[in-house]
């Protein structure tokens, strides 16, 4: 058996380890990803995003239960922040998902951002591809707790769910641009708290003004009230996701194709940037040009970053 077969057949240990290789940027992982690529494209990817503490993990736990009831297998990638000072991280999203630990139909992996901005880790899209190739029907990506501008999830997920809670009304007004624009579904979690209806109304106003609909998109974002820890509203959320999926997959609409093209383009750009950067850096270091010396020149005002980079690029592409 080779690694590809082991992954495609769903061997948990191999999957877990290749995810680690990808995260650690081990060069051989790229070859595995290459060979896995033909096996991808079957999974449906659902993204959960929102501020810290709104209940993303609890909702992921509940919706996983709903998909398991529908006999779908589920892969979960849950991202938590890396300390900018020590590089360490506490990955605690699993705590809310304990009832799925022994279910062979559910694979959960906790990721740290490792300095990547945007709400995900740099490795997330590649990891989605691995779980996809491993045959998971649904892949759920949970972002770090986000603020306003960490909207990368829209490029990974087919359906993006923005989770909020009652009482963030003023915030909703304040953060209209960015994060509030990306939801295909809005969840008002902890809806048994006071002010839930008010939050729903504010979201309805927001949706009415939604720029996407003026750009010819005809999906009307759904609003769902839930109480995740009590399992309330989960069926509504499940239906909303399935409704969005049906909308995207509707034949002849061309929407599915458009999403695939967008994701492929972004992934292509990401890999190109990453590889080009590594290659150039390797050559620079291979020539014996010292990065420390470049830094010294910049600090001592003998040169500047623009001139130095211009020279490097000129040398490489003449």
């Amino acid at each position: 058996m080779d690694i590809i077969e082991q992954i495609v057949s769903g061997d948990v240990r191999t999957i877990a380890r290749i995810l680690r290789d990808i995260d650690d940027e081990i060069p051989s992982a790229k070859n595995v990803l290459q060979e896995l690529y033909p096996h991808t494209g079957k999974a449906y990817v659902v993204g959960f995003t929102g501020s810290p503490g709104v209940g993303k993990s609890a909702l992921v736990d509940q919706i996983t239960g709903a998909y398991r009831k529908a006999e779908k297998t589920v892969g979960i990638l849950a991202v938590d922040p890396t300390s900018p000072f020590t590089g360490g991280a506490i990955l605690g999203d699993r705590i809310r998902m304990q009832r799925h630990f022994l279910d062979p139909g559910v694979f959960i992996r906790s990721l740290a951002t490792r300095g990547h901005f945007g709400g995900l880790s740099k490795s997330t899209n590649d990891m989605v591809n691995v779980l996809d190739a491993a045959g998971k029907d649904v892949i759920i990506v949970e972002t770090v707790g986000v603020g306003q501008d960490e909207v990368e999830i829209v490029n990974s997920a087919h359906t993006t769910i923005l989770v909020t809670v009652p009482g963030m009304g003023d915030d909703i007004q304040a953060i209209k641009a960015g994060i509030m624009e990306i939801g295909n579904i809005f969840v008002v979690n902890k809806a048994d708290r006071e002010g839930s209806r008010k939050t729903v109304r504010e979201l309805m106003n927001l949706i009415e003004l939604d720029a996407r609909r003026h750009n010819g998109e005809d999906w009307e974002p759904q609003i769902v009230e839930t109480v995740a820890i009590k399992g309330r509203g989960i069926e509504d959320l499940y239906e909303a996701i399935e409704k969005h999926r049906a909308y995207l997959l509707a034949t002849h609409s061309g929407k599915w194709r458009k999403i695939l093209e967008k994701r492929a383009r972004i992934q292509l750009m990401g890999v190109l940037k990453d590889q080009a950067f590594r290659t150039i850096l390797e050559r620079v270091e291979g020539r014996g040009d010292s990065l420390d010396e470049m830094v010294r020149k910049i600090v001592d005002k003998e040169s500047d970053p623009y001139t130095i980079v211009h020279r490097i690029i000129d040398k490489e592409f003449k």
Binding site: I26, T86, I90, L91, R94, Q98, F107, I108, E282
Partner: protein, 141 residues
């Protein structure tokens, strides 16, 4: 341009006791030492702990226990790791143990036991010198 691999550690509390102050402090210290710490909280069965360790591909499991149930849960975790061909994941324990149990636990394969009074710095130093991030993906025999 290969970067050093990051150490991943699971901190878990097997069994019924609900006092995870110590486990949390150790988890936090591991974070500050630059490790990625998967924290799953209290009331974990050995089965849940091993399943998590494998899915998360950790290098070490730190079991915190105060209840005295280590004579059951520690060997069980080791057995399950063996059943899953994952003996390369090291297991250490922290908490309260009768003195006479410590050598027995080490004998069955627990790599180290940290008792009350163990200093955070000593625990981290021990991890840094005894636990290596594993090598790349391996093929099934």
């Amino acid at each position: 341009m290969e970067k050093a691999r990051k150490l991943r550690i699971l901190v878990a509390k097997p069994g019924l006791d609900g006092h995870d102050r110590g486990a949390r402090i150790v988890a936090r210290a591991f974070r500050d030492a630059g490790f990625e710490v998967v924290y799953t909280g209290c009331h974990q069965t050995p089965e849940q702990i091993v399943s998590t360790a494998i899915q998360e591909d950790v290098d070490m499991i730190g079991l915190s226990i105060l209840s005295g149930a280590h004579t059951y849960s520690f060997p069980r975790v080791l057995d399950l790791l063996k059943d899953n061909n994952a003996q390369d994941i090291s297991v250490v324990g922290g908490g309260i143990f009768p003195l006479e149990d410590v050598p027995k636990l080490k004998e069955i394969g627990i790599k180290e036991i940290f008792e009350p009074g163990a200093r955070l710095k000593d625990i981290i130093d021990w991890v840094n010198s005894n636990i290596m991030p594993r090598r790349g993906v391996v093929l099934k025999k």
